[in-house]
């Protein structure tokens, strides 16, 4: 493999080859310290949110996690991004998932199933950053927040598509805060990150609520959690202070359902939903599935094949570096085409799947919006509650206790 154009020199002065040692990678121990701290910090938040009812401890965890996971460890690999590694490991037989990445993915889910979204509260550096800068929160109408809360699911769906087809890691590409943690990086994303941070001064956690795909996943486990976060263990006096304090709009006000629906209308509604759900799911699957060829251009090989076609069609254009390299390495266009066809087949399958996922989420959200439940007191919505503990300090019942 090595072309020896010049023979090995024949030294007569007793010259010896220098011994060059290349610096070893960072110790793997750091990965395990990360895992240990992840568990420890989630434990602290769980204790603070359930037992101690203390916001101060959660802010402390946020600051620590921001400094350690964010700025010191520079953010990679994180739990949010680990979705992609897991998907890649499932679809790419050549990729072995490192155990600590699997733990980064699974541990927050396990904690969420037990204690609610304690990971989001302050252990996640992305959330912690927004939490620290948040001063006021202007409440958006329920229609707006409901519409925006679909975005994380769409983001998640496309993340799965691009990771499963080995095209790119979407979450890493569009991570708005990584440039801030590393004090450098893609200018566009840093500008976007700074804008998001400016927004999060006035609106609680815009990234967590309206973008984060891992948050979307955790919201399911949050609503199933075993121990629920409570504003106070004492009786709620319906003072509305916790509702006003909640940065993520996860505390629902009391509501008297006065709509009296007769039985037949109710049955009709359920039948309609039962029809609507598969129809919307199928429609979305068809919609995304039909665009799979256009989406597949995100894959490097498909893009390369496209470029080669362009050069063939228009020989006068400047030959792009990709095509030049392809020709220089003496690769075969026919082989590339079979590869591209296989990739496009994968894209077709996964596009239908993620289309169905998006459709399912859309219809479930619609159905959820149309159900009305009577609430006598202020209640926490476990799917959206991030266990940040802001409400604790506002509840008069809690203050009285202290």
């Amino acid at each position: 493999m090595i072309v020896a154009r010049f023979p090995k020199p024949d030294f007569s002065s007793g010259y010896e080859y220098p011994d060059i040692v290349h610096p070893a990678p960072y110790e793997q121990l750091w990965n395990w310290i990360d895992i240990f701290l992840l568990v420890a910090l989630m434990g602290v938040v769980a204790w603070a949110a359930h037992k101690k009812h203390s916001r101060a401890a959660i802010v402390g965890v946020s600051l620590f996690s921001l400094a350690y996971f964010g700025f010191y460890r520079s953010g990679c690999v994180c739990s949010v991004g680990s979705i992609q590694n897991v998907v890649l490991a499932l679809t790419d037989s050549g990729y072995q998932l490192p155990l600590y990445v699997l733990l980064l993915f699974v541990l927050p889910i396990i904690f969420t199933m037990i204690f609610g979204r304690v990971f989001c509260a302050g252990v996640c550096p992305l959330g912690a950053l927004q939490e620290i800068v948040n001063v006021r929160n202007f409440r958006m109408s329920r229609a707006v927040t409901s519409a925006l809360s679909v975005i994380p699911w769409i983001y998640l769906a496309f993340t799965i598509l691009y990771a499963a087809t080995r095209s790119q890691f979407l979450i890493c590409k569009f991570d708005p805060f990584i440039g801030i943690f590393r004090l450098g990086g893609d200018v566009g994303m840093i500008v976007f990150g700074v804008l998001l941070l400016l927004l999060s001064i006035f609106v609680g956690r815009p990234f967590c609520r309206f973008l984060c795909p891992y948050g979307a996943l955790l919201s399911i486990f949050g609503s199933l959690s075993w121990k629920k976060v409570e504003v106070t263990r004492k009786e709620c006096i319906n003072c509305t202070l916790c509702h006003m304090a909640c940065p993520v709009d996860a505390i629902r006000p009391p509501y008297a359902n006065k709509v009296k629906e007769d039985r037949l209308a109710g049955v009709k509604r359920i039948v309609m939903y039962a029809v609507l759900l598969p129809v919307v799911t199928a429609l979305c699957a068809l919609l995304i599935g039909s665009g799979s060829d256009a989406l597949s251009r995100a894959h490097k090989d498909v893009y390369l094949y496209d470029l080669i076609q362009q050069v063939e069609a228009n020989p006068e254009m400047d030959i792009p570096l990709e095509v030049e390299t392809f020709n220089g390495l003496g690769r075969n266009v026919e082989d590339l085409r079979t590869e591209v066809e296989a990739i496009q087949h994968d894209y077709k399958v996964y596009s239908y799947l993620i289309g169905a996922l998006i459709g399912l989420v859309l219809s479930v959200k619609l159905i959820k919006l149309s159900t009305k439940r009577t609430r006598k007191t202020y209640e926490i919505d476990d799917a959206n509650c991030l266990a940040c503990g802001k409400c604790f300090n506002y509840c008069p019942q809690e203050i009285k206790k202290k």
Partner: protein
């Protein structure tokens, strides 16, 4: 009796909720279990590294790393080097005078230094602190010499991004995830 009736819908909801939670939790655990059995998990970490034999020295390593100065550096395999005076990696092609004037040298940052060993041999050394990974010398060495200069990701500088920014744009697909024992792909070992 009427008290019981009034209370019952809430209890029923609670009952359904618990059943639903158990059902959903169970199915989630089941899926996770099924998925986990398919996962190939390894205790070892992965690193990014350049295969020097597929690298085409396109120059993107210098420009596309997210670090201000790329983590990709030029390495030198002394055992492969011919120790020539007229070095394709040290001098620019078609130089008139073989001296160390900047206009004659290939390296834009002056990271390559050489030391006279004995007639007619020179020992070449790379200063990794100055190297920006542009690969100009590597191209010269690979085209006209033995190919003893080659690009590698210097592992203590690499931030190990979940997806390497250079790998995304590498036209030769030379950057791959490798295991710890392959953290460097050195030419003097090949």
């Amino acid at each position: 009796m009427s008290e019981d009736l009034k209370k019952s819908p809430m209890d029923r909801r609670k009952f359904f909720r618990t059943c639903g939670a158990i059902l959903a939790g169970g199915s989630v655990l089941g899926t996770v279990g099924a998925v986990a059995s398919k996962l190939k998990v390894s205790g070892a970490d992965v690193f990014w590294q350049i295969d020097p034999f597929t690298c085409t020295q396109c120059g993107r390593c210098e420009t596309d790393c997210i670090l201000p100065v790329s983590a990709v550096k030029c390495f030198h395999a002394n055992k492969v080097c011919g120790y020539c005076d007229l070095c394709g990696g040290y001098y620019r092609p078609s130089v008139k005078d073989l001296n160390t004037a900047a206009e004659n040298l290939m390296c834009p940052t002056g990271a390559i230094t050489r030391k006279f060993v004995e007639e007619p041999y020179f020992e070449y050394t790379i200063d990794e602190d100055l190297c920006n990974g542009c690969g100009k010398c590597v191209k010269g060495c690979t085209s006209f010499g033995n190919g003893s200069l080659f690009l590698q990701v210097q592992q203590d500088l690499c931030l190990k991004c979940n997806e390497c920014n250079i790998a995304k744009v590498c036209p030769a697909d030379a950057i791959k995830r490798v295991s710890q024992d392959e953290a460097y792909m050195l030419k003097d070992h090949a």
